[in-house]
Structure formats: structure tokens, C-alpha cells
Assembly symmetry: C2
Homo-oligomer: 457 residues x 2
């Protein structure tokens, strides 16, 4: 009899789980229909790109972005909207950079460059020096101080097109932008030119943060477009380059006050269990920050809007967060975790969309074994939306600091093929975003948040 | 002992299969590296779009496309390149269409229209008639001949955004473009205006073939842009539209001679087993036919090029085929199957890429149970390239006629989110194609062709 009862309970449990999945599947379809029929992510993104525009930390654009996304969160139906003050680095580019190569035949050619974020500027008259090209750090080290001292180092490392996921290629090549200046400075270089991190050949230099190492001289650092890098390399190989002149006008000002923007839907049963869903509000100054990361912001707002519009009252509290300063300091993400530690609440999950508003392929998660198993059990629900690649590892820069609180971190993984073409470049504009791809990302984010709000994690 | 031997053979077989997969996995990685490092699909596509341009069946563009892709196939290293003559419909648009609504207050507004492919033109002075709007066929039938006779029918059926795969939405809404004219003509209508099949609101009318039903009057048919449809519908609802004037200048000429273009790599062991891989060479006249279907053509050429460049000698014969006339007649596909029947060879598999040059998501196949099982066994090899969605059903219009020969049909399924935005519209240009997405499609196509050439099907 006991066995029969056990068997019966097992059957009932299985049925219940079965019904649960069907039920969830229906609700997720409703979420999808709501977002595709009435979604506001695309129009919010248009506003953020075209009316607000570039919004680097400390800029007036960033200030306006704070106000406007607070408004959008209210319109989406958040129960409360609040700001979290934080101080942010305030780097300014100043006037357009000048780059010129003087050839041995005395002609000059323009170099298509932009200063790297956080870089010091050149002296007012610029720098004029011989150039040494290296393909990688090994070649730099082989040259040694003798051949580098007083020169401009040109890192011509091509982003490796053989990686299928372009974030891997970015991770590989990114060292030259990040560490390149300090490693060259350690050998006495007076400046560096870094080949743009992009898989395509074009005339758009991409900016992005460089990181000076403590104790090393800070030397000016610029990125050159991929076409420009190819051309410069050819001229150098032909022995035609006499010297290079670079003038940049950027500088780091005093830290400025800024904010994370948070919109909350209060949980009905477990209000003290917090689900965070977000993107970062700041963007580089060259473009509209559409894919990086306007899309993550408007998708996170859409999560709240869709749940509210469908009358889904979450059991657990959901916070849509627009993080400030991901690009050159991560102060917003750090502040969010710092404040989280002070609250007497449980931050159970953080979900970030900061890999572009492209068609979603799945999720990557950094979580405990038990949490991971729970997340993986939901995978079938995401299949028909194309977000079926569930992989261990991942999260997001802004939610990263939450990990120390035991929060499960989940990153939305959109298709990566087109991201690096426009990342940190002037081509990262509203027109480069597909409305359907953006919405589909919002659908699977809302579905994930819905599941965690219902079942916990 | 017998048992031990059986067990031993089983282990060895498993090992061999294991090695087989590893081996194949390594070769597919080589294919991927080759295509991402040295691929010519993107430059071939640039040529096809920018130098050849639109190439509707019977046009000089189509003639030039035949010559140029024959050249590309030779350059890719095909053992032989040959043409298959076929007669094709020759429809011409003539001068730009005129569409105008006269309002009750006597003002006129322009309608953003294009003639549908295969449509008859209006009389030289155009047609001027009252308009009736219907949302669907049900509404048309409810109106009946009394209210339709002598009028222009405006089909304002919105492409349903709730379908995740946009081809399903296209299949659903496509009936209005295909059957709309004859169904309206049967009730006495003098012309039809069909809302553009696109999920986005913009000013680009999309063309595409309509099909007149035998025995029904052939009346002029045009597509109106989605923005135009919304505006017109609003004016009609407000009772402001007095009449509509449409003038089109298109006509169907006599059939014209044309060709399929075939490039062959001869199989070393089973030369009489033929693998077909292709796309269609013709394209609508409004754009460059980049995604529809320049990408399928250059990817098919790339399959041959990559195999040749890597020195892979296929056991079975591979034919890369540029099919003519998919858009408004399917004469090339029919001719290819007709000639295949006459050859004393076995056409084991056809693979078509005709859903855009977007990031590949997987394959759909129409094949026997045994063939399907074999294909599905290869799925793990495609995972790291993101083409992991293997689904039953699918193929391609041009390879469809091969099915009667028992050929397994496989369709490449790229991500569908952006396709319908530009399908058959002037925005289907080279710039809308991502080099990496195009190449990744070519990688998985080459991998599939390689596996079938090695193992048969």
C-alpha cells in the first residue's frame, strides 16, 4: 500500500510538473504576444538614441538618460522608481583627434584615429615620433627598451576571425587595448596606436576603455580604424614612414555625481527576495549606444511593462536596473551590490542584457549546482523562442559584484556575429537594431524573470 | 568467446565511430577556419549586387548573372562548369507606377505602390474607381459581388507579429498577394491593392509574384507600403476617400531563353551519386537581391571553393547550382529535376539556401526515416557553429522537384527575424548582409555537404 501511495504521489507530482510546464508555456506565449503586439522597447530605444544620444558617465547625456529612463519605468508601471547616487569617473574627449604619418618622401597621410577611453591627452602640441609596429606583446618584448624608447608603438593585432563567438575574439584581442599602453610605456614608448577591435575592414575606429597600470607612465593611447591599420602597416613594411604625429585633447576630470535608476515591481508573497534585471545606461561618446547598451536598458524596462500589462503579480520583487558607468569604471554595478549588502533582503538572481539587442540564442549562468539545475529544467520552455543554448558560465559586468552575495547571475546571450562590427563605434545607432530581434530578447528575459519570480532560485 | 568477440567488435566500432566524429569535427573546423580566413562569398556577393544588380528572369541582369557566376564557379575550382538551358517567363515592370487617392475634399494624396510580379498592367490611362477595404477574405466574401463590382479591393491584412518564425507569418499573409487578385476579380473588382508583407512600418512597398487563377479575369495588382496601408485605411475609415487612381505599366512578354548554372566537383569513389547545393540566381527588379538570394548563390559557390582549397576530394559528386526563375515560375528548378531524371545517376541529396544570408540556426529536412536518422546523428557536429536546430520538414523551392526522385531535401534555416523587413523590397541590398553571418552559413553548408559526400545518404 505504501508503495502504491508512493507511486501515486510520484504520478501526481509528475502530472503537476507537467501541468506546471504547460501553464508556464501558455503564460510565456502571452508574454511573447504582448511584447510583439504592444511592446515599447523599440520606441523607448529610439528616444534614448535619437533624443538623448551619447551618454558617457558624467556627461549631460548621461544626466538626461537618468531622467528619461526613470520616466519610462514609471510609464511601464513600476510600483516605485528610485535613484541610487554614485560618483563616476568623468572623462572627456575634447576636440577631434589628429593623426598624421609623415612619409620619407615628405608627403603626409591622415590616420583615422580616436582616443581610447580613460586615456591621457597629448601635450598641447601633440607628439611627433618614430613608430614601431608589433603584431603582439611577444614582438614588443623582443624589441626591448632599446628599440621602443621615445617611439610610438603600433599594435597591429588582428581580431581573430576564426572564433565563432566574437566575444572570444574580443577577449583575445582586448589585451592590446587594455594593457597595451602600460606595457609599451614600461619600455619607454611615448604613445600607442591600437588596431581597432573589429572583424570587418572599414574606416570606423572603435573606442573603449584602456587601463593604466599603477606605477607606469601614462602615455596617450588611440585606436586606428582597421583599414587605417592595414594601410599604415603596408607603409611601414615598405620603409616609407618617417614619423607619426598624434594630437588628442582628452582628459580625466574630477569624479562626477550620477545615478543608477531602479524601477520596482513589489513581490506579493516574498517581497524580500529580489530579482535584478538590467543593462547599463552609460555609453561611449562616439555613437548612440544603441546595442551597447541601450537595448539592454529598454529590454529591462519592457520586462516590467509586459508583466504589468498582463496583470502578472510577481511573488518575488523585481527590480529593473539601469546601471551607470559600465564602460569606464563599473561604479554603478559596484554601488548596487554595496547597497544590496546593506539591505536586509535576499538578492536571488541577477539577469543582464549587455551583449547587444540581437536575436537571442540562450543564457549563460554563474550559479550554484542546485540553481543551475533549476535553470536548466526550464530550458524546454525557451526552445520555441530560439533561446535554447543554456550554458554554464556568464552573467554581466554590472551584476558581477552581486556574486559575493550568493546571487545567481544570468547573462542573456544574443547572436554575436554582428556585435563587434559596431561596438564602441559611431555605427552603433538605432538603425542598426532590428525591432523583432530586440523584442524577442525582451520576451525571453521576461520569461526568465517570470519563472524565477514564481519558483524562486 | 563469441560474446567477448562481439563485445570487442562493439567497443572497436564505438571507438571507430568516436574517432570518426572527432575526425569530422576537425575537418569541419578546418572548413570553418578556411572560410573565415580566405572566404570569397562576401566579395562575390558584392559583385553580384553592385556590378550585376537586379536580375529578374529574362532581364539583361539575369544574363549577366549567368556569365558571372559561371566565372566564379571556375575561379572556385570546379572541375567543370556547364549551363542548363530553360525557357523562363519574361515579366517587365515598365515605367514607375502611379497611385493616387482623391479625397472628398478634392485634394489628392500619393500612394506608395509597386506592381506585383506577373501582374497585368492597367490600361494606358490607368484605372480610376472607388475602393473597398477588407481585412481578410472573409470580409471580402461577406461584401459579395454587389459591393465589390467595379471597385478596387484593398486587402489590409497585417502580417501577424506573433509568429516567432517570420516565414510562418509570411505563409499566413501570403495568400492575399497570391490569391487576392483572382478572388477579387471573381466578384467583379477592377484592381487590387495589397498591404505589403512586412512586419515593420515603413515606406517601402514589397513586390513578389501574384498568381492568376485560370478562368478568372486578370486584373491589375499592386502592393502598397505598410505606412501607406495604415494611412489609406485611416482615410477610408474617416469616409474621406472618393476614388483611387492606379496606373501600372507592367506586362508579361514571350518566354525568354535562360539557364541554370552548374559547377561540379567530381566524386572520386561514387561519381554517380550526386549532391546538389544551391540557391536561386534570379531576383526581383526593385533591389540587388542580396538576401534573396544572392547569398544562397555565393554560399553554394563557397562550398566548392572551400573543399577545393582544403584539398578535400569528395567521394561523391557535388554540384553547386544557381537556379534560374525561382521568383516567378520555378522553371530552373523544374528543368534541373527533369534533366536529373534523364541522367542515369542517383541524386542523393539537395541542399538549398534561400531564406537569407543571416546567422544559421539549423537545418530542416524532408527525407526518409533512415535518411533523417543519419542527418540527426550529425547534429552534434554543428553545435559549436550555432546550427543546432535540426527539424523535420523543409527543403527549398528549387530543389523541391527533386523529391520525386527520392532525393533527400535539406534547407538551411537561418535566423528569420530580419528577412521579411527587406524581402522583395529595395532595401534588400549588399549592405544589409553581415560578412560573418554569410560566412557562418557557408561553413555549415560546406560541413553538411562534406558529411554527405563522405558517408552518403
Amino acid at each position: 500500500m505504501k508503495k502504491v501511495i508512493s507511486l501515486l504521489s510520484l504520478i501526481m507530482l509528475t502530472l503537476a510538473q507537467g501541468f506546471g510546464q504547460t501553464d508556464d508555456s501558455l503564460i510565456i506565449k502571452k508574454i511573447s504576444d504582448e511584447i510583439f503586439m504592444n511592446g515599447t522597447a523599440y520606441s523607448n530605444l529610439r528616444y534614448l538614441c535619437k533624443k538623448v544620444g551619447p551618454r558617457l558617465s558624467g556627461s549631460t547625456g548621461a544626466e538626461s538618460a537618468v531622467e528619461q529612463t526613470a520616466r519610462m519605468l514609471k510609464e511601464a508601471g513600476a510600483d516605485t522608481v528610485f535613484l541610487q547616487p554614485c560618483m563616476v569617473p568623468h572623462w572627456v574627449r575634447g576636440a577631434k583627434e589628429i593623426g598624421r604619418a609623415t612619409l620619407t618622401n615628405k608627403t603626409q597621410i591622415n590616420l583615422n584615429i580616436v582616443a581610447l577611453g580613460n586615456s591621457v591627452g597629448t601635450p598641447p602640441n601633440g607628439i611627433d615620433a618614430e613608430v614601431v609596429e608589433v603584431k603582439n606583446f611577444k614582438e614588443l618584448d623582443a624589441l626591448g627598451a632599446d628599440k621602443v624608447k621615445g617611439k610610438i608603438v603600433f599594435y597591429n593585432y588582428r581580431m581573430d576571425p576564426r572564433y565563432i563567438n566574437t566575444f572570444q575574439a574580443y577577449g583575445d584581442a582586448g589585451a592590446y587595448r587594455g594593457q597595451g599602453p602600460s606595457r609599451a610605456a614600461a619600455l619607454g614608448a611615448v604613445g600607442v596606436i591600437v588596431r581597432t577591435l573589429s572583424p570587418v575592414l572599414d574606416d570606423n575606429p572603435h573606442t573603449g576603455a584602456t587601463r593604466y597600470e599603477d606605477g607606469k607612465p601614462k602615455i596617450p593611447a588611440v585606436a586606428i580604424s582597421t583599414n587605417g591599420a592595414v594601410e599604415l602597416s603596408k607603409l611601414i613594411a615598405e620603409g616609407k614612414v618617417k614619423s607619426i604625429y598624434v594630437k588628442t585633447n582628452c582628459k580625466m576630470l574630477e569624479d562626477a555625481p550620477s545615478f543608477n535608476v531602479v524601477g520596482e515591481l513589489r513581490g506579493t508573497e516574498y517581497p524580500d527576495e529580489i530579482i535584478t534585471v538590467g543593462g547599463h545606461l552609460d555609453s561611449w561618446d562616439l555613437a548612440e549606444g544603441a546595442h551597447d547598451d541601450g537595448t539592454g536598458c529598454v529590454q529591462s524596462i519592457e520586462v516590467l511593462r509586459a508583466m504589468k500589462a498582463l496583470g502578472i503579480q510577481p511573488k518575488r520583487t523585481i527590480r529593473a536596473v539601469m546601471f551607470m558607468n559600465e564602460e569606464n569604471g563599473l561604479r554603478g554595478g559596484s554601488k548596487y551590490a554595496e547597497l544590496a549588502k546593506q539591505e536586509n533582503k535576499k538578492f536571488i538572481m541577477g539577469l543582464e542584457s549587455d551583449a547587444g539587442g540581437f536575436t537571442p540564442r540562450g543564457f549563460g549562468y554563474s550559479a550554484s549546482e542546485a540553481q543551475s539545475a533549476k535553470i536548466e529544467k526550464w530550458q524546454p520552455l525557451f526552445k520555441q523562442y530560439g533561446a535554447l543554448e543554456f550554458t554554464k558560465g556568464g552573467g554581466g559586468a554590472d551584476i558581477g559584484p552581486l556574486r559575493s552575495l550568493g546571487t545567481a547571475l544570468i547573462g542573456l546571450n544574443p547572436d554575436s556575429q554582428r556585435y563587434m562590427d559596431l561596438h564602441h563605434a559611431k555605427t552603433d545607432v538605432f538603425e542598426a537594431v532590428s525591432e523583432r530581434e530586440l523584442n524577442l530578447g525582451a520576451v525571453v528575459m521576461t520569461a526568465m524573470v517570470y519563472l524565477v519570480s514564481k519558483y524562486g532560485l
